[in-house]
Symmetry: C2
Amino acid sequence: MNTTGQVTLPIEVGIDAEVKELMQRLGADAVRNSDGTELPELVHSLAAKVYSTYFPARGDQEWAVANPDTTTHLFLQSPRVPALPGQDALTINVMEGYFADQVAPRTDVDLTRYWQVIDRTTGSVLAPEQWELKGYREVVIAQPQPGHVYTVGFLARQIWDATQMYNYITNNWQDDPTRYKARPYDVRLQKVWDRVLPQLDSWLEQHPEVDVVRFTTFFYHFTLVFSDRGREKFVDWFGYSASVSPEALEAFEAEYGYALTPEDFIDEGYYNCPFRLPSKQFRDWMDFQNRFVTSRVRELTDKVHAAGKEAMMFLGDNWIGTEPYGPRFAETGLDAVVGSVGSAATCRMIAAIPSVKYTEGRFLPYFFPDIFNPEGDPVGEANVSWLAARRAIVRCPLDRIGYGGYLSLALQHPDFVDRVEQICQEFRDIYAAADGKAALTAPVRVAVVNAWGKLRSWQTHMVAHALPYEQTQAYVGVIESLAGLPFPVEFLTFDQVREGALEDVDVLINVGQAGTAFSGGEQWADPQLQSAVRSFVAGGGGLIGVGEPAVHPANGAACQLSDVFGLDQEQSFSLSTDRYPVVDPNHFITDGGALSVDSRGGARFWTIIDEDVRVLAMEGTSVQLAAKTYGKGRSVYFAGLEYGVVNARLFERAIFWAGGAQEQYEATLHSPDPRIEVALYPGSKALVYNSSLEEVSALLVGADFSGQVTLAPAGFKWLDLEP
Amino acid sequence: MNTTGQVTLPIEVGIDAEVKELMQRLGADAVRNSDGTELPELVHSLAAKVYSTYFPARGDQEWAVANPDTTTHLFLQSPRVPALPGQDALTINVMEGYFADQVAPRTDVDLTRYWQVIDRTTGSVLAPEQWELKGYREVVIAQPQPGHVYTVGFLARQIWDATQMYNYITNNWQDDPTRYKARPYDVRLQKVWDRVLPQLDSWLEQHPEVDVVRFTTFFYHFTLVFSDRGREKFVDWFGYSASVSPEALEAFEAEYGYALTPEDFIDEGYYNCPFRLPSKQFRDWMDFQNRFVTSRVRELTDKVHAAGKEAMMFLGDNWIGTEPYGPRFAETGLDAVVGSVGSAATCRMIAAIPSVKYTEGRFLPYFFPDIFNPEGDPVGEANVSWLAARRAIVRCPLDRIGYGGYLSLALQHPDFVDRVEQICQEFRDIYAAADGKAALTAPVRVAVVNAWGKLRSWQTHMVAHALPYEQTQAYVGVIESLAGLPFPVEFLTFDQVREGALEDVDVLINVGQAGTAFSGGEQWADPQLQSAVRSFVAGGGGLIGVGEPAVHPANGAACQLSDVFGLDQEQSFSLSTDRYPVVDPNHFITDGGALSVDSRGGARFWTIIDEDVRVLAMEGTSVQLAAKTYGKGRSVYFAGLEYGVVNARLFERAIFWAGGAQEQYEATLHSPDPRIEVALYPGSKALVYNSSLEEVSALLVGADFSGQVTLAPAGFKWLDLEP
């Protein structure tokens, strides 16, 4: 048993003895500092790799303050303001609701290009002569149409880095005279880049103790805007709004032959969030910035390598343009990615990143006073976090795990340290069982189709990393379930489906709310797409829909694959049609009726349109779960799939059934208890693990094996299945 | 106190003594037969009006059978059938799912005109040479597009009258050799009309005992289609599908200059149900048939009047083209309308019919064995029915009430007869209190806006009369509440709102699911409509939205009046925007927090977009009830409003508040207990009534009056407020 390695600890000054002891107990082989903390002298004597944070686009604040023309920018939209009757001119304060410490309107640019006033009642852009800017933030529309609503889109400087602002405000750094408000600078400007490169050179030279440069992160922050009350106003972990600048926009126009407008970024106020079907303009911009960022990152990683160190990227913060599943990620030259594990899906999102030497998951809880206090329950938090992460790790291992925060706090909770010691060892054992590869996979190849495809692998229905949103929990549960299930999973675009990608797929999944990029919206108006999926299923494929799959009301159906599901969503246009659903939960998917779906928050008002569909669950008149054969293939519908062990098991069985592989499932070692999961490894080894916080005694069946297993909460057991 | 009159009883043969006694006890002054029952000889000696059913378009079955070319017709759609890969030709059996006893495809017509094959994946109509009819029901598409879905629209004869079929099947008349399957005949054919007129002449001559000819009904049945299993398949109480014929379609084309196609009626399979935004073609057809039916009805009523009798219409069954709120109803010459009272809304729908001498409500329960048996609770049913009806009657009185079914059954339940005696007297007292007019109204003029306006007054969100539908209960509750509230109510079209109708309105209501004719769908894309409503509210008007009002996603908002409500429906495009709603139920609408809304089944995911909106109730992240001031006016939003005494009270208070009249409410006699309602009458009289089935002791306040009242379940009390 390998009892050392693959674990990174945060360390701090003044507790050298404890650090050494803890490193040994946990088998840590790497240490790190955090944002704003220093590495102790001790690091030179440790037999461990040393990580250090590095901020390429905000690390040099003295220079940033001296060069205020180098900030990054944002496109922002004013509030929607109605012109009411009896008013004359309409004045819109574009800064209403925004935080003057973070953003400042650019009034020194060509307003006809970088500002736009739009009549949101008609959708038309006002001619520049129809409005004027007064002062630095008031737009006056001389003769508005009474009863119409107007907005102003405008270019603003980002004068405070979003993450540093968040930390500053959250931790009350205003009381600390040593703190400053960090300004981000934009590497698109040659004078910035000419500064960044030598800065890195000298930093590398000055830090021989560092083995791994942990870039935190690169150049453009995801969209994070605060309000005039100093609290979060807008957060899109995938947002590109803060990647703009006049220089970049001009370079774009020169290359692409057309100019982007503020509205191309403001997108009616939705700012091209990932739930929107992406426009051509936005896709072009992403591609443009991805190429630019990739080439700039490569210059940095080349320097890191030349200094004999490794380059690691933190997956978050200023990560825009470095999407790990993007087409050019290998070209960045990065050696590793580290990211926060908030769920099974985010864990697998990190672990499955291609073309890096290793991945590392930063586990919860953080060693921060919010949890590490006499009333907190750090062990409970660690168990919840480990349960989620372990589900993903057995299917696709992280190479390393780590923690963050103040080690001294953790040391005050010996029971927590004991538990982390166990987790670290369990992690290493799982990793070793498959020599760093995944557990054996089931013979059903799964693909999730949406407008983003591979680019947003394991990132669907996310808004702000792993934060929960009531409206998306029923859909994010699909990737949360999949992250811990034994199937090979890929993410396809609608275009790929049109172009024949279903050749290599057994079960296709479409999930989400109607009209979103995840469900597909108007994509489903395309006969070619419909036809590709219909033919796939009729020819023997499986289709699983969750929520409002393929919904784009047209031609007498809400769901454009209603015939495949045998169901449609009732828009109140078919209430006149009588429905006679018969609910019978007795099906392979529901394990003979033993399992019942929880579809809270999912879609409503799905009804049968075909008496051949098998309805497995309903609530009122809404179908919650149904299954159907279609030609040689099968379809399954879930109204929603919030993650839970029962729903995940239902989903697993649905995939096996839709893929026509239910006999393989029965023949493979498994437990009828959905809390108990089984992963098979080469060499007839099996990991049986309890994905609940209850003690479970359960049967194991399949694989000529039959027996009882009793597992502690979150417990596990290795079995040798050799006959 | 007037103890006689305004009551109609069904009577039957063989219980003459009981009939006489009961008529006296109930104060009945009219008697009637029912479909298929005979009036006893007794009628000649009763001092009462005699009603008799009359079936102008199915009464003469011998002739109907001898003239099979005279049936009415329907346009029907086949199932949606996919063309799967590997198939050659696609065969669609158009009769699949239809009942051969009811409908028969017309194969002897010009198939290129009266049949249509449509590719429902592309929406395109196939050229006639792309398909052929084999036999009488199989359409063969020689070369379908693989993966596309097809339908056939076709003209069919209706060979069995829908209501008679329903009665026949429901009552197992197949075991009764005296019963036949009644065929409807179409008065559009001259030879039919030439038969109908003299038939009525002789019937009038042969029935001197009849005072009132109760037409049940006229010519075209609402759409009611049964399935091949002999059960209901499709029911639209407002449906025009069965009003078609080659002759009518040709006459239409000659008059309107364009031809209607099967698809104009089939409407993608939604058959122009009232939830659909009506097309120009459908509106033209309604107008065309309304003129025709009106003129034909007038010929009949002229004959009835010439015979010295009254003409009454039953509101239901074959009522298509005689809409009582239509533009030509006065021209029918009808004296009265009778209809079934299934709720307050249907009661007010009957009571408020203009241009007839009197209206009559047929009350529940029917004297049928399903309720009148040892396990049944006829008194309970009567109470529920009376509670609903009374709410409407105090606001807009019916002129008469009546019952239906087998009197002999009712006589076996003396407690029921006692209760009906009370109800009849209570009804007469309410009627007399205002001399047949409404109770005094509150000073807030309410208008409901939808695509139908006045034509569907008190009929919004209905599918099959008063039958409940889970998906519409949260919206039909609006008219159910309004039917018993003290406001003058009118129903406006969107066009009327555009054209200035809000001049005479204090509070405008828009209610329903997005995309429906009731919410308005694409109507809200019109800046003129938006502007009219915005200006109305800003100028001091009130706007109440229920469910998905004004929702038509465009230009950065789902709800096109989101600024007026201070709310919008989250389409998952704004999840990145942080919301900080503060729920405070303490508001006039919620009576200082004492009332809480129940919005089951209503809209989800409405969020605040303006910090000035007052959120009165939320469930999870969805706003359930909110209020806002906007310019000089006010808006209120309800996620849903299933009828109940608390919701009705909230709605009443919301209307007073939106209309800026909350002080008038406080100053008017009312009870803080929402179960207790008060109607004020001329002469300082007040009716205080308990709209619940619980005994209630409650305060009465307002109008310089203060006191306690205790009312039995469903009880009432007349108060004299004279100082």
